[in-house]
Amino acid sequence: MTETASGVLREPFTFGEGGELYGFYEKRAGTSGEQGGARTGVVICQPVGQEGIRCHRACRLLARALRDAGCGVLRFDYLGCGDSAGEEDDARLERWVTDVARAVAELRRRGPWSRLALVGLRLGGALATLAAARQRDVDRLVLWEPALDGARHLEELAEQHAALTGVPDPHECLGFRIGAALREDLTGLELAAIPPAAAERILVVEGAGEENGAPPVERLHVGGPRFWLAEPFQAVVPDRAIRSIATWVTEGVVS
């Protein structure tokens, strides 16, 4: 763990079986529940594929905002993604949900935490929801522009691929393979209603309204561009969403 001159502790590391998962952990030195206020640990569940590449900066900036608000924050790559072992079609959806659980366990190891939060962006939102519903010990769940309908997500990926090539490809989205098993998993993914037991409090952050009547869900509509479609060099940063998520996770209020 490295401590910077400004008192930030940062650590890239590997975890999971045989160190097959890549993770990055950060917090401010001195972050402690003894100093008053809840000590919150956060796992950020990132998108996959090209959306993961495009959203890396947004997730990093969200992690920084949460860290500076007093949280310990863990970002990680699922099996077959980012720096983790394997290729994306090596994994099944179920494996990725398990990876979220592994990340939560790794975060707990770095605790203790008085509050646990998951933030899931795009498909990461579905994975965070499934993991939280299974674990039943998540205090706060944030679903950020979540992709909760797998068939619809596959259509979106096909549209993104076709935007570059002119034609959709069922086996690839912009440099990332979609294997038959993963496609089958995504086709079967349909979280029409977020399980109410997933977390004590749930916040959905999205730009366009979607009907989802599962209480107690709080909703925040934010404007701005669909940053998961912007190339990294365009440096599109969803500032308002980042600030709002950090405030809701740490203070429980929507700003």
Binding site: T14, G82, G175, A235
Partner: protein, 290 residues
């Protein structure tokens, strides 16, 4: 193969991943994959990760990392310009890898990474090879770059547009970029004013490349057909003695600037792997790349 996340630099501010082959194959140089623009260290479409694992199977250790303020690396607190800070940070990474016993390095850079690789190669004797992928702006002189880019646009207009039915259709429907076309034509008229300066920069860039290969370095230029990198490559290699050994040039048809699609990325990785194996020893188990 094993991979480990680590930090680099005197303040441990830079973050990256080192990939070590299962079997160390002789005295292979370590391959360092530089960041491309604002994409984090996995590279566009994760190419840096796939390249590292391919090379590990060939006995090459690799490292990939984020420059300051990009990906997982911390921000710089000084005001050093980008072209200097990236070279300095690369030097810190090489220093740390040298501390692990690595003595020679091959740099792989795509887009902005190619600029850093080229600048470092001229100054760091530990660098024995550079793979420049879609390299543009090998010198930052604005007149020189404007000249090269205008050459490229001019070639597109005169060679393709005049003979393209689609281009005429776009002209008639108002979709041609008339401002850019006017700028290109205007630039060609005033070009003679900056011709001496352009020649001087070209000679300087060519000289740096020539100096690198003269001391035993190897250079690979990979360009996507139609990318402005082709224009830079043509100009720079034109300033270097014809047929100079140690320089290879490859054009990949149909790919975009960052080799986004799987098919294009595979071709890029094939070229890189072939060049590395041919340059620094065939694989004892499987032989050269077919």
């Amino acid at each position: 193969m094993s991979e480990r996340a680590r930090t680099f630099g005197p303040a441990n501010r830079l973050v990256g991943v080192v990939t070590d082959p299962e079997v160390a194959a002789g005295d292979r140089p370590a391959v360092v994959v530089l960041g491309a623009g604002t994409v984090h260290h996995v590279g566009p479409s994760r190419y840096a990760v796939r390249l590292a694992r391919r090379l590990a199977a060939r006995g090459f250790p690799t490292a990939r990392f984020d420059h300051g303020g990009v990906g997982d690396s911390g921000r710089r607190t000084d005001r050093l310009p980008w072209e200097e800070s990236t070279v300095r940070e690369l030097g810190e990474v090489l220093d740390d890898l040298a501390g692990e016993g690595r003595e020679r390095f091959v740099l792989v850079g795509l887009c902005s990474g190619a600029i850093t690789a080229f600048r470092s190669a001229a100054a760091d004797p530990r660098v024995v090879g550079i793979a420049l992928i879609n390299a543009q702006a090998l010198d930052l002189d604005p007149d020189w770059n404007r000249h090269v880019l205008n050459r490229g646009w001019s070639r597109q207009y005169w060679r393709r547009s005049l003979f393209s039915a689609d281009s005429w259709k776009r002209a008639l429907t108002g979709r041609i970029q008339y401002r850019r076309l006017a700028a290109v034509l205007r630039e060609q008229v005033v070009q003679r004013v900056t011709r001496a300066r352009v020649a001087a920069v070209t000679e300087d860039v060519g000289g740096r490349l020539a100096g690198f290969v003269e001391r035993g370095g190897r250079a690979l230029f990979v360009s996507s057909a139609g990318d402005h990198a082709e224009d830079y490559r043509e100009l720079v290699l034109g300033a270097v003695e014809d047929g100079r050994p140690g320089i290879r040039s490859v054009t990949v048809e149909g790919s975009d600037h960052t080799f986004t699609l799987l098919h294009d990325q595979r071709r890029l990785l094939d070229e890189l792997e072939r060049w590395l194996v041919e340059g620094w020893g065939a694989d004892a188990r499987t032989g050269p790349v077919a």
